[in-house]
Amino acid sequence: MSDHKTIKITVLRYRPEEEDAPTEQTYEVEFRDDWVVLDALNHIKDHIDGTLSFRWSCRMGVCGSCGMMVNGEPKLTCAAMLRDYYPKEVRVEPLVNFPIVRDLVTDMTDFMDKLKAVKPWIIREEEKPVSEGEYRQTPDQLKDYKQFSQCINCMLCYAACPVYGLEHDFVGPAAIALGHRYNLDSRDEGIQQRQHVIASKEGIWECTYVGECSVVCPKHVDPAEAIQQTKVATTTNRFKSLVMPWGNKT
C-alpha cells in the first residue's frame, strides 16, 4: 500500500522559443522506493507536464542517452535511485559543458565530431578475404582492451572533466579511451591514423590527470587510465625514436 510520500524534483527548463535564459521548475511527485530519477521524470512527462524534454531509451544503463546532472553530479538518471536522495529534493539539470538544446537535452555535436576523429573502428591495411575466416584473438588479447570497449558514449566524463570545461578543443576522455581501445586491439593496424589526433595538443597532452572522468564513468572504463597509458606509450616511443631513429616507428 502506498503511504503517499512525495519528493520534490526541480528541473532546469529551457524553451528557446519562449525564454532567453534557462529557468527552473519544481514538481512534486510520488516517492517510490524502487524508482530511479528517470522514472520520476517520465512520471512528470506522462502525468504532470508533457512539455518537459529529456533523452532516454533503454532504462537499463546501456544506451547512454539519459545522462544528466543530478544534484550537481553527472549521472545516468536510469541508474540514480530516488531513495538515495529522499527526503531531500532532487535537482536535475542537463549535462554541464554542453550547449543546451531544450530543457534537459544537450547538443552532442562536439562529442560526435571528436569520436569520429579518433576513428573508433578496426582499421586494416588490407582486409583478408572472407574465405580466410575471421580474425582470431586470444582471451589475453581481448583482455588488453576489453575495459575500454565498455563505453556507452554517455558523456558523463565530459561533464565531469574540468579541463574540457575550460578547453573545449580537448578531445576528451571517452574519445581518447575509445581510440586507445582500438589501438590496443590485436586486429587493428590503425594507430598511425589516430596518433595525430590522440597525441595532438588537444589530445592526451591537454589532460592533467584530474581523474574525475573515471570517478563518474558508469561503466568503469577508466578513461583517465587510458590517457595515462597513451601518454606513457607515446613518450616511450618518442624517446626510442630519438635514440634509435632507425628503429621501428609506432
Partner: protein
C-alpha cells in the same frame, strides 16, 4: 578541427613524470634528514654539517645524484606551474607559458650545473 601530433610535448611530459617520481620518492627523505631528523636529534648534527656536506660534493657520484634530484624536479615543477597557471585563468598566455616555465627550468639547470661543477 585540424589535428597535428605534438612532437615536443612527450619530452616535457617525460621530464615531468620522471621528476614527479623523484620528487615523491627522494625529496621527502631529504626533508626528513635535513629538516626534521637533525633537529629532533635523531641523527648527529655533525653528520649534516656544512663542511661535511660540501666535502661530499667532491665525489662525482654525489654530484650526479644531486643533478638528477634537482634538475628533474625543476621540470616537474615547470610543467605543473605551466598547466596550473593556464587553468586558473591565464589562458591567453597559453602560448608563452611553456617558454617561461621550461625556460625557467633551463635556467635552473644551468644554475645547478654551475654550482656543482664550477663552484665546487
Amino acid at each position: 578541427m585540424n589535428y597535428k601530433e605534438h612532437k615536443s610535448e612527450p619530452f616535457w611530459w617525460g621530464m615531468f613524470s620522471q621528476g614527479g617520481v623523484i620528487a615523491a620518492l627522494l625529496i621527502p627523505i631529504h626533508i626528513f634528514l635535513g629538516g626534521i631528523a637533525v633537529h629532533l636529534g635523531l641523527i648527529d648534527a655533525e653528520l649534516m654539517s656544512h663542511e661535511r656536506l660540501t666535502g661530499l660534493l667532491q665525489n662525482p657520484l654525489v654530484k650526479l645524484y644531486l643533478c638528477v634530484l634537482l634538475i628533474f624536479t625543476l621540470y616537474h615543477a615547470a610543467h605543473r606551474i605551466r598547466f596550473t597557471l593556464a587553468e586558473i585563468g591565464l589562458h591567453s598566455l597559453a602560448k608563452v607559458l611553456p617558454f617561461l616555465c621550461y625556460g625557467g627550468a633551463l635556467v635552473g639547470t644551468a644554475v645547478v650545473l654551475y654550482i656543482l661543477w664550477v663552484l665546487f
